[in-house]
Amino acid sequence: MATKVNFSSELQKFTGEVQTQVQATNYRGVVAEIVAKYPGLAEDEILKMAVAIDGEIIHEPFLEQIQEGSEVHFLYRISGG
């Protein structure tokens, strides 16, 4: 089973679609697949974003593993006061 990657409205300007499926099993693989699939997506911009994997928001996802069937969202990084 593949991993579902969901794109925000902002990212949809570059992907042209709401969702795609990837075969990668870790964060870096997901980024590599979507950057290769959508030339308009700038890798450095994607790497600035946080991700949510199955609803768990992760600000530094560099080493994250992703289970088959998971849902991934790219998000603006949140700081706070």
Binding site: E10, G55, I57, H73, Y76, I78
Partner: protein
């Protein structure tokens, strides 16, 4: 959902470890440090809101006998750093109070006198002071090269709009087509200040041998080090930052204003330098919260089902593009509602005001105020109780958020039910009184935290946390260490070491510290448990697997024998050296916190003055480590939000000059203005934290705006849509009705 558990140490109301120092005046704040040979610095600030700087002549100031150093923008070593122009203005003064030059002298009076001798040739420009002015077709430009990002088509000409963003789920048009009732309103919120009592201040020393030091009040001393080092081209290892006790921050002390300038002056003079803002400077030049203009449209069926929600948000960022907390504003506005069709569009707009800074749940109070006001009006229109209306549409586990992921277990429904069952909600109102209800949502964050627990020879432990304590984290860390090690809380003390003595920790903000740094404490404590077992095993000549750690004691399960922590630590020298636990983590799995507030307000219809007569704050803490501190966060957030709703605003004159830079004219609520705020802690555990913790520091400032806004509106029978609801504004509405 995680199940609630019984704990031995967390959940108690221990005496706060910083309490004695604070009430006796022993606590050392930013302005309290004096060093041998120290001199004083003052900052020359722009008298104009918008002006081109043609030249700066400091020669007369430098000629004064007691003046030891003068600095302007050209003295900042890293001119390319984008943060440099808010430390000292370069080509333009962008707001009233923008720093122009710094002077260090042997006395404060000499530094003050020298400021008056600095000659600045300004070309005064028309100020842009509102979103309307900034976005007008004929608007003058604050930045001649600012091209709006995020537009469907890239603009070819500059404007005062730095970016546009949008978020969408479902089909909003179809949702509104299903609705029986649709309401659409515009709401405005003013520029506000965080209102911390302690002004920004620092004492610094630039050392020729490359061991410079900064003592300052900050929410993130690693951030101060990184920013200052970047501006001065210093290596991190050659700059030590010490976080003093802090007298309030609320997001406003995540920013660096004085420290790089002070260090430049110290380097030039060869002396330690102290700078302290006065209150006037704090208001003019330190980051305010963003003023906003927000349009919201919501549709619902007659049965109370919300079918569509739409918003268009405009946030001021001060004169610095991208500073507005627009992203969180867009992401949070509709999160309390499980509605399939939602759309938000947002704009970041530059104006001639100080650079906007974070303010407690930055961006969320403004947008959620607009949404919650309209929700209350829609409930009235439909004839449904506002809590029932929210319950019918409440976000819960698996609700798809507008910003992307589905929610995990959250406590909004539990908060709404607690509100409905509260004593206040069941109480009756009297003449000229109104009641308002509002929800609030904030994400909370995790991030990088570093903790060391040093076990002492007597079996006590010292916790070193890298997160400045702005809300009671030292007590919480002690309690979490105690719980993990099953040793009494007072076995542990907690301190915040300087940047040279612990690894990087992210800034205290985002309601992250009890959650993330708490996880680091648990990890460090678990590390110690492992070592305790190993050391006891070494004494007993058994394997660590044959040792159990229970109730704060090592037990030899393969034979007889018990060892306390004190006994293990006393023997540590001969079993391998002293025992230190490490917790260096990047915490993930922060759990969002929802809140529901109820405000009862009485309005004097002769004067327009509003009095909060009763107030209840209900919020999901996940697990309250120290309930007293948690209640304090709820009450503090509510008090700040009430001030935002009823009185606080920056008042500028026609030239863009701030007219109320002081607490007499910028009126935050005093204790005598407020009733005792009733706090109700809801606990729906966050499954990602070992004890179920969610952050609690920020959500509490969100609901008061609409709770008070609605209460005043109901008390006078007029829908109010602009904050603050100050006596003149309310009286004007009454007289014009």
């Amino acid at each position: 959902m995680s199940e609630a558990q019984d704990y031995k140490y967390i959940g108690q109301r221990t005496i706060r470890p910083d309490g004695y120092d604070k009430v006796t005046g022993r606590a050392n704040y930013a302005a309290d440090l004096a060093l041998p040979g120290m001199i004083w610095a003052k900052v020359l600030r722009s008298p104009h809101a918008h002006a081109r700087i043609r030249s700066i002549d400091t020669s007369k100031a430098e000629a004064l006998p007691d003046v030891m150093a003068v600095a302007t923008h050209v003295d900042i070593p890293n001119q390319a750093n984008p943060g440099a122009i808010n430390i000292l203005a370069k080509d333009k003064a962008l707001y009233h109070g923008h720093a122009i030059a710094g002077v260090a002298a042997k006395t404060e009076a000499a530094a003050e006198a020298a400021l008056a001798l600095i000659e600045v040739d300004y070309e005064v420009l028309p100020p842009i002071m509102s979103i309307e002015d900034a976005m007008a077709d004929s608007a003058a430009l604050i930045h001649e090269d600012l091209i709006t990002k995020g537009m469907a088509e890239q603009p070819t000409s500059p404007s005062n709009v730095s970016s546009r963003m949008e978020m969408n789920k479902g089909d909003v048009a179809a949702g509104f087509a299903e609705a029986d009732v649709i309401l659409e309103r515009e709401f405005r919120t003013p520029t506000v200040h965080q209102g911390y009592i302690e002004p920004h201040a620092c004492t610094v020393r630039f050392d020729e041998d490359g061991q410079s030091m900064i003592w300052c009040s900050t929410q993130g001393h690693f951030g101060v080090r990184a920013t200052t080092a970047a501006l001065l081209n210093l290596e991190h290892s050659k700059l030590k930052v010490i976080a003093s006790e802090i007298g309030g921050g609320f997001g406003g002390k995540t920013v660096v204003y004085l420290e790089p300038l002070a260090l430049i002056l110290s380097k030039k003079s060869g002396r330690p330098v102290k700078i302290q803002m006065d209150r006037d400077e704090v208001f003019k030049a330190s980051g305010p919260g963003s003023a906003t203009r927000n349009k919201v449209k919501i549709g619902a069926k007659k049965d109370g089902t919300i079918t569509a929600m739409e918003a268009h948000l405009y946030y001021e960022s001060g004169a610095f593009p991208g500073a507005a907390p627009l992203g969180p504003g867009c992401m949070t506005i509709f999160t309390p509602y499980d509605v399939p069709n939602q759309y938000v569009e947002g704009f970041d707009v530059v104006v001639n005001k100080a650079k906007v800074a974070a303010y407690r749940a930055p961006g969320a109070p403004q947008s959620e105020y607009a949404c919650e006001m309209l929700i209350n009006e829609l409930a009235d229109e439909l004839g449904i109780d506002p809590i029932d209306f929210r319950l019918q549409n409440a976000a819960k586990e698996d609700t798809q958020t507008l910003y992307g992921p589905k929610l995990k277990a959250v406590g909004l429904v539990e908060c709404l039910e607690a509100a409905k069952n509260s004593a206040q909600y069941k109480s009756a109102l009297e003449k000229n009184q109104g009641r308002g209800v509002s929800s609030g949502f904030w994400f909370n964050i995790g991030g990088v935290s570093s903790v060391i627990i040093n076990m002492n020879e007597d079996g006590t432990g010292t916790i070193l946390e890298g997160s400045p304590d702005i809300g009671g984290s030292r007590a919480s860390m002690q309690m979490m260490a105690a719980e993990e090690l099953q040793m009494p809380t007072d076995t542990f003390s907690a301190i915040i070491p300087d940047t040279a003595h612990i690894a990087h920790s992210d800034t205290t903000g985002g309601s992250r510290t009890t959650f993330a740094t708490g996880m680091a404490v648990v990890e460090a404590a678990a590390d110690i448990v492992t070592q305790f077992k190993e050391r006891a095993a070494a004494v007993w000549n058994v394997t660590p697997e044959q040792v159990e750690w229970k109730d704060g004691v090592a037990i030899n399960i393969s034979g007889d024998g018990k060892m306390t922590a004190a006994e293990i630590c006393a023997a540590a020298g001969r079993t391998g050296g002293q025992i230190t636990g490490l917790g260096n983590i990047n915490a993930r799995g922060a759990g969002p916190s929802f809140a529901v507030h109820i405000a009862d307000i009485e309005v004097d219809t002769d004067t327009g003055k509003s009095d909060v007569i009763r107030y209840t704050a209900i919020q999901d803490a996940g697990k309250a480590i120290h309930p007293g501190y948690v209640e304090g966060q709820y009450q503090g957030g509510a008090a700040q939000g009430i001030g935002w709703a009823l009185n606080e605003e920056y008042i500028f004159n026609k030239d863009g000059l701030l007219e109320n830079p002081g607490f007499l004219d910028y009126r935050i609520p005093l204790a005598s203005d407020l009733p005792m705020i009733e706090a109700i802690i809801v606990e729906v555990p966050n499954s990602f934290h070992p004890f179920g913790v969610r952050g609690v520091g920020e959500t509490g400032i969100i609901p008061p705006l609409a709770a008070c806004g609605t209460a005043v509106s109901k008390a006078i029978g007029i829908r109010m849509s602009e904050l603050p609801l100050s006596p003149p504004r309310v009286l004007k509405a009454i007289l014009e009705a």
